[in-house]
Subunit: 301 residues, 4 copies
Amino acid sequence: MDSNVQRRSVLAAMAGGAAGIVAGAAPATAAPADTAPTTKERLKGYTVPLSPRGVANLAGKPPWNYVGDAVGAEFWTSADAAAASLPTGLDPDPTSNGHGYAVFIDWQFAATPDDYLDPPFSLYSEFLILMDAQWQGTPVAWCPFIWVDNDASLARGWVQGFPKKIGSIRQTRAYNIDSLAAPVLGKGGKFAAMMSAGGRRLAETSVTLDHTADRLPALTRPIVNLRHFPQLAADKQDTPAVHELTMSVLDNLKFANTWVGTGDLRFLPAPREELADLQPRKVGVGFRGTLSYSVHDLRTL
Amino acid sequence: MDSNVQRRSVLAAMAGGAAGIVAGAAPATAAPADTAPTTKERLKGYTVPLSPRGVANLAGKPPWNYVGDAVGAEFWTSADAAAASLPTGLDPDPTSNGHGYAVFIDWQFAATPDDYLDPPFSLYSEFLILMDAQWQGTPVAWCPFIWVDNDASLARGWVQGFPKKIGSIRQTRAYNIDSLAAPVLGKGGKFAAMMSAGGRRLAETSVTLDHTADRLPALTRPIVNLRHFPQLAADKQDTPAVHELTMSVLDNLKFANTWVGTGDLRFLPAPREELADLQPRKVGVGFRGTLSYSVHDLRTL
Amino acid sequence: MDSNVQRRSVLAAMAGGAAGIVAGAAPATAAPADTAPTTKERLKGYTVPLSPRGVANLAGKPPWNYVGDAVGAEFWTSADAAAASLPTGLDPDPTSNGHGYAVFIDWQFAATPDDYLDPPFSLYSEFLILMDAQWQGTPVAWCPFIWVDNDASLARGWVQGFPKKIGSIRQTRAYNIDSLAAPVLGKGGKFAAMMSAGGRRLAETSVTLDHTADRLPALTRPIVNLRHFPQLAADKQDTPAVHELTMSVLDNLKFANTWVGTGDLRFLPAPREELADLQPRKVGVGFRGTLSYSVHDLRTL
Amino acid sequence: MDSNVQRRSVLAAMAGGAAGIVAGAAPATAAPADTAPTTKERLKGYTVPLSPRGVANLAGKPPWNYVGDAVGAEFWTSADAAAASLPTGLDPDPTSNGHGYAVFIDWQFAATPDDYLDPPFSLYSEFLILMDAQWQGTPVAWCPFIWVDNDASLARGWVQGFPKKIGSIRQTRAYNIDSLAAPVLGKGGKFAAMMSAGGRRLAETSVTLDHTADRLPALTRPIVNLRHFPQLAADKQDTPAVHELTMSVLDNLKFANTWVGTGDLRFLPAPREELADLQPRKVGVGFRGTLSYSVHDLRTL
């Protein structure tokens, strides 16, 4: 995006500006309820495709419930690379610039129990980066890159502001049985995870567990995303239809079986990718644990 | 979408209403250039993910060039099913209500020649439905459903208003050599194609070629799409951020080696899908041909 | 392959040996140990591809260790269909003809711990059928059909006599945390699983757990397989190089967290498949549990 | 398998025959025709899985017909690496040791026309290496490594002696139309191809066409393969059931639209792979063309 971006809602919010001037992705704000049009779209659904019965859409309306096993590591990249990854509206965190997390998660999603009885829809794996940042002085986590292996998850992610691409993500599994084919979920247990996209390995980690923890190190800050959806009209391609910073609202966030220890982490360079620009200069703790939360809302910043 | 949808830009356009009142997906329209904010987003790119160097985005800005081999069939579904598939703003075509096309295409995409030298990025296969409709009395083709096997294509499609989902699409290939392993690209040649998503066969066609034609039957009307991108804030989930009818602008559309003949076509029911609601009651011509075009613009209706 | 390889056909050919004396795949049998040739194959490995360093082969020599989560159901098909599925050498079990199990397993494989730190290699999912049968009066389980999503697993399977094809297999997951996105692993918990191949759904089950059990119902009999590998020489295509009944030897078979209850099960017909010929007429218990074992040997019957 | 199957180990066992006399995979060799057992296997098919109706097998009996578009390059690796890649029974070619070809092919397979009307079965892509070698003084091509994306192709390959693994293979396509999205199939046209397995890029080539040729450079020598199928019995894991050099018999081999020019080629190292041990020291001609042949026989060397 190399020319003016109309992000007045964000600007307004950051400057305490008056609602009502906004453009960018702010139509709902701009239109007071009493002037709202009354046309009802006859097609139904939340995301595309809208359809007569409203069941074909990739993602229905929230609430969205998630449970997953996570493996990952904290890392420090260069301060410059970290700062460069931030969108306008976020600042480097002066106390931890360059610090972030790489997290691989085997998710199960369900809006209703019927969903987890449809595993091709419900199951997906994810890899994401969370970088320390500040929004108006508040410590936040910024997600510059994220990959999943499921189009419904991609659709939900875009709506949340997670810039999801399709990739292949795999992590070592733990089983509730003693076996030579699985690590112990305990001290000394080793887990690995990796992500590929376009047939290229892009990220890989391995962790050795040492002790339990109350929660995953990676999810201690609110996640800030950038909802972004461009226009295609020839004269508006530099003016996105939606471009707004948001903060995730995670309901009922729970952790279980969290272990932390040491970790390795590498990002591998590839065309059409900038993940390796965040190459770790130092790797901190590695971790493995289970988490669960629900989403029913999003805060626009 | 089961409550009010603010689609004032479309309403305004259709009614010749004044610009400026708009909401829905119309921010750019609402903000005259002279009042546009001047903040430049420091991240670069056209679609997500925006990034420091602007190469990580799934889709860069147009022009987008396409070439593909298409196999498909025309069909008639019930008038009611066809009418139900249309979004608000489109009307059934009184001369051909129920008539449409099912098209399977093996595409190669390239913004620049470097792209077609990156086939995991450039190659993709697609299946789409085009239904006859009218927009303000003009004959158009409406795309209710479309599947591709490539996330960059999905991203471009969403920006165009094509409601793409991920699927697996395969078609019989022709080769420039006489072989027992391929049909003749000529009279009597038989081709088939099919699409699956979520591990279920959803559509299948077979065609037998009879005679040449100047162009594919399926692309005789301008394609109308619905650009749609929801909000997630709890009180705005029924108010999409973007919801606007658009008309595709295909530059330099060319056809070659077009053959038409007879065809079979079936849609198979599946949970989370409504394609089979458009079940063919009659199948018309089958076809196979090559097409090429470019996209650099989109018309908002 | 790091010891003697008996390759008499080549030896004979290289030594000007008479054509016609040796052929086929016969060295091991035809050559009593005391007359075995001493040529050492310089390429290394256990399965294909053999290679200079012996690391490129799809599967190295045992021991092979496995751990997995299984979901499935017992069923009864017609006595005729069950009998027809048996190879020569096996007889219908007069006490339970028509009875079998459909089992979906999310496996992790490891010959060494390094393997489970390579999840794209180590993880795979499987669907298999086990039918009651008798071998010389002994109750056994015959595996007529099995699908996996990993080529290393396919290679190991063929060596064991499991007639593996590639498919897509998914099952509901349990997590060690309370979540709306997962069933309880306990009374009332519901799990589902399904398998697709070639883009078609071929099998699906759902189970509701009721009470614990000591072991999975599905693995109470020794598994009998048919190792089979054809010849391609024009006059030998009806004479397989390998065609022998075998009995699996599962070391250290363990079960944990086994629950049984009720189940549904369906096989869906498809071209190039005969699974649906075993369509359940009645479904018995459903089950969900974890199992682990090792393989280092195979008994030829 | 609809004729006699020699299954002496089973027969012997069932008849109370002495253990130790028969074993392994040896019936064809060990049993002269006049003493062959007459038991007919009641299951049908050519490869696994054998089944009641004989349609479930991954590959039916030949003839097998193929047509494909090939892109690739010739290369020279070190003489040592080339020699090390050869199985016992083949010698380095003193005139061209180190010389080989890397070839990417988009295939369509059909035993009957119904097959190419089933594209998920019929279509596949392949990458293979062919190294110059000699068999008893005759120039031959040895295939040390090959990947495909289709299990039916893998099964046929193993029967032929091609040591196929599953990978993802993509090549630039040519279309019969002038487009910015495709190279010209003529002087100056550029094509690329690549192969990934396990989520890692393993090979990539790009070629620039210069002039036409009568045939693909890569297929000027008969292809020698090593049919290999191990035993799993604990004491026989070093004694394969099948281990024999074979020479492919390609019927009616035809070429069309062959262009040659310059090429680049790289192999990328990866765990569990030895392809990069054959790293090109020099790259020769690049090429792109169409080929077709049939297989109905195999010569055992």
